[in-house]
Assembly symmetry: C2
Homo-oligomer: 187 residues x 2
DNA sequence: ACTGTGATGTATCATTTTGATACATCAAGA
DNA sequence: TCTTGATGTATCAAAATGATACATCACAGT
């Protein structure tokens, strides 16, 4: 399946803290990473259905759920992690493949770093760094190759893109250094 | 139609410089902005077909095109701007609505700033700035609200997101200042 | 008291995009 | 020779978007 790794992980990770209904889940999903780019319901609800079918979460129609928003008329559907779901989440948090450091998945993966072992954290951060390094190299080459062929605005756009990647790399480097310090504080 | 504004503009803009075939178009599309996230052929070819149907570009099957890559066996399809396409592109470059400063469209729009009037450039940059400002406000509020509820990694992720937006705003501010200087150099 | 706007809440659907794949040619290196 | 990788066009199932529909509630303005 090509179904979004990030979305699945994010749902399971958020539900680990507390059971939630779709609307609230979407709000938290949006802020989980950078607070923009809300996921659509057309992606969320099918994902929830799939996870339910897989037995990782349960749907509970809850007519008088917590919160004063609904006083009992309309049912909210609350989603909660099952034991199988917890196990699956734990398994996901032990992985460190490309899907954990690519653009799509890294942010969500990082958000759940507290529940990730230090060794795996390290692998993911190194993978992320390497991915960014590739990108930086491609951008530099592209900039060097087109420096005199392109107009100044296009050039400025590429230069800005390179800046962004370099900034991101510094951030990751600092995170790696911080992991090192906390791993061996006597160092 | 909800068809991608950015893709349409990027194709027309790239074809204004020179006629290109699909593969080359995709490569330039990828580097046009930040050099990553290549568009898929499944989006490119339908877009080219639509533009052809609208009369904005022409398809020319070119059995022995320039370049040593193909020596005559397999036909490459070269796409070129028509007069109607040039007119349409010119019209697009005069617009300054939300689609020109949203994430999706801003990068491509900026890449063609040389072919955009100073007044329109100004409007787009201001729009972009305002969009980023909204985002910054949302992120700050989110950070303030969750500062003590969230774990440190999630918090760090949000802080980093805010950094990125602030960095982007500084960049836009500098661009606006540069536009001001070039508009009235005696100031 | 009325009225509109916007948040909350679940849900579907046409259209678009992705990511994979298929096919074919050519260059370069093992 | 054989395999890998770039060039090149093209399609397709699966997935995501953006719009929309429906319904309740709070709140502000008039």
């Amino acid at each position: 399946m090509r179904k979004s790794y990030a979305l699945e992980l994010a749902i399971l990770g958020l539900l680990q803290d507390s059971a939630l209904h779709g609307y609230e889940l979407r709000k938290r999903l949006s802020t989980l990473l950078g607070a923009f780019r809300a996921i659509s319901f057309g992606a969320l609800y099918p994902a929830l259905r799939t996870l339910t079918e897989q037995g990782f979460i349960t749907e509970t129609s809850d007519p008088n759920a917590a919160g004063p928003a609904l006083s009992g008329k309309r049912a909210r559907i609350t989603y909660a992690l099952t034991e199988a779901g917890t196990a699956h989440l734990t398994a996901m948090l032990r992985e460190s493949g490309p899907e954990t450091w690519d653009d799509e998945g890294f942010g969500v993966r990082f958000a759940f770093f507290s529940a990730t072992e230090a060794e795996v954290r390290r692998l993911i951060l190194e993978g992320r760094r390497s991915r960014l390094s590739e990108r930086r190299a491609a951008l530099r080459e592209s900039l060097a190759a087109t420096r005199e062929r392109l107009d100044s605005y296009t050039l400025e756009l590429q230069r800005h893109g390179l800046d962004g990647v370099e900034n991101e790399m510094r951030w990751v480097d600092n995170l790696i250094a911080a992991e090192d310090r906390s791993a061996r504080p006597t160092g």
